[in-house]
Amino acid sequence: MNAARPQPSAVNHDGGLYIAHQKVYPREVEGRFNRLRVAATIALLGLFYAMPWLQWEGRQAVLFDLPARKFYIFGLTFFPQDFFLLSWLLIIAALSLFFFTALAGRLWCGYACPQTVWTEIFVWMERWTEGKRQQRMRLDQSGWSLNKVARKTAKQLLWVSFALYTGYTFVGYFTPVRTLTESAFTATLGGWELFWILFYGFATYGNAGYMREQVCKYMCPYARFQGAMFDRNTLVISYDTKRGDPRGSRARGVDPKSKGLGDCIDCKLCVQACPTGIDIRQGLQMECIACAACIDACDSVMDKMNYPRGLVRYTTQNAMDDKPTRVARPRTVIYGSVLLALIVGFGIAVANRHLVEVDVLRDRNALYRPIEGGLIENVYTLRFINKDTREHELRITAEGIDGLSVDTDRELQRVGAGEVVSAAVRIRAPGHAISGGRDIQIVARSDDGAIEARSKARFIAPAAR
């Protein structure tokens, strides 16, 4: 993976080797990969914008209720105690990225990354208001005229409102979006909500409107390390040097071989189409996000010239060298099987999740209290977490010391669906049965036997003399 060396002309004159940033004006392309990217953009962003409006059993289907510390995902309710599931999910996500990178290169970058997807939308809006590539370049070079002001204002208006709506949707995942809409219309948005709408909106506006390919080139860690997952069998976008070189213009219908030329007519459409501003013909480069815009651009030219398509195409290093490409190879098999195991394990863990959990907090004021009848009493606060979608009534018992008894305010502790309830419990042990500290088990059971939650606690008694 040879990074493109700075061209001498582009070197700054202050002696540094940073290239002055040049705005990229990606050329509009038509073709099958463009259609695929448009479809991916609409599907992914559609999902993002529509999801908060989806209802499930009378509440928002996907809601991360941070103030209440509860996460609703369709029929499931998650609590911070389920954090390991989230970590697990993140590991699965990371490994999927590895797997698909090894298999098919930077699919993520080209079609699914939020940066790509939102940039795509922002470029559309730029096209609607400022026109095609040539028109945009001319507009930027021209002086301020009424036309320019009108077009730039229209673009900013579209960008800002779309960015704000994006921030609004984002906050809608954390505050119920219907409540949010109500408060937006009655101008009673909370300070935090307003802050995050503006923050996320501004990030969208800046990243998709202005930063664009610079995010991939300078900010994205994945772009830097994805090369480590590549091998000679990985799907990459590549220019067929053997077929294309030597490059040169020619009239349509002229046999290139008679002029000593390859199939590349050097029209530079692939360069103009590139959203990161590279020349794919220089080989695989770190900046390439594999969006396949150059393939579409080149195919359209090949069609016009009546040459076969695929001078720039999805291929592998092995295929380019006329060697067989293998999909199943140690790297993909290992990534794939570990991924599969993790996904199955995750499914099992979610399915077998304890629906009710009990947390035990010791009373901080007194270690123990001797009471009538030669008993030693310890006081605890129990916290019941009901992740189930129905209410449970729990009976509390304790195990671990002979003669343990439990005294609660209510015989049966009622915990509603998705609720967290705290209750004090006094546990007593005969003084002769224990000295010093010992671990006991506090058990919460429903009378129908459907629920049994256990938690370890420390029972403390005076040391024997």
């Binding site: 540094g16 940073y18 941070l66 510390r69 911070p80 989230l86 935090w192 995050w196 900010m219």
Partner: protein, 98 residues
């Protein structure tokens, strides 16, 4: 060598603005992870339970937000110090590619 001395004398940290962007971004990512991990384990309300929390912290969202910016600030300080010490050690500016 002449070129080198010129570079060194002109600026102790040649690409400060570009590097600032990188270090703010890297620390932003670290702060996101730290916020996620920290608040998964600790409820912001319980953190201030015993010491009479200020009124504005009664809203958990305030706790999360303050926590996030606190983590961002801390990781930015670490990033900044790292970059500063690497950029200003003697001979750092002589290297052609960084």
């Amino acid at each position: 060598m002449l070129q080198t001395e010129q570079t060194t004398s002109r600026s102790r940290w040649p690409h400060f603005r570009e590097d600032l962007g990188v270090l703010l971004w890297a620390s932003f990512l670290a702060a996101c992870v730290a916020t996620l991990l920290f608040f998964a384990c600790f409820d912001p309300q319980l953190l201030v339970n015993d010491v009479a929390p200020p009124q504005w912290l009664a809203d958990r969202r305030a706790g999360y937000t303050v926590g996030f910016f606190f983590f961002w600030m801390m990781s930015a300080i670490a990033s900044f110090l790292t970059a500063y010490l690497i950029e200003t050690r003697s001979g750092a500016a002589d290297r052609e590619y960084r």
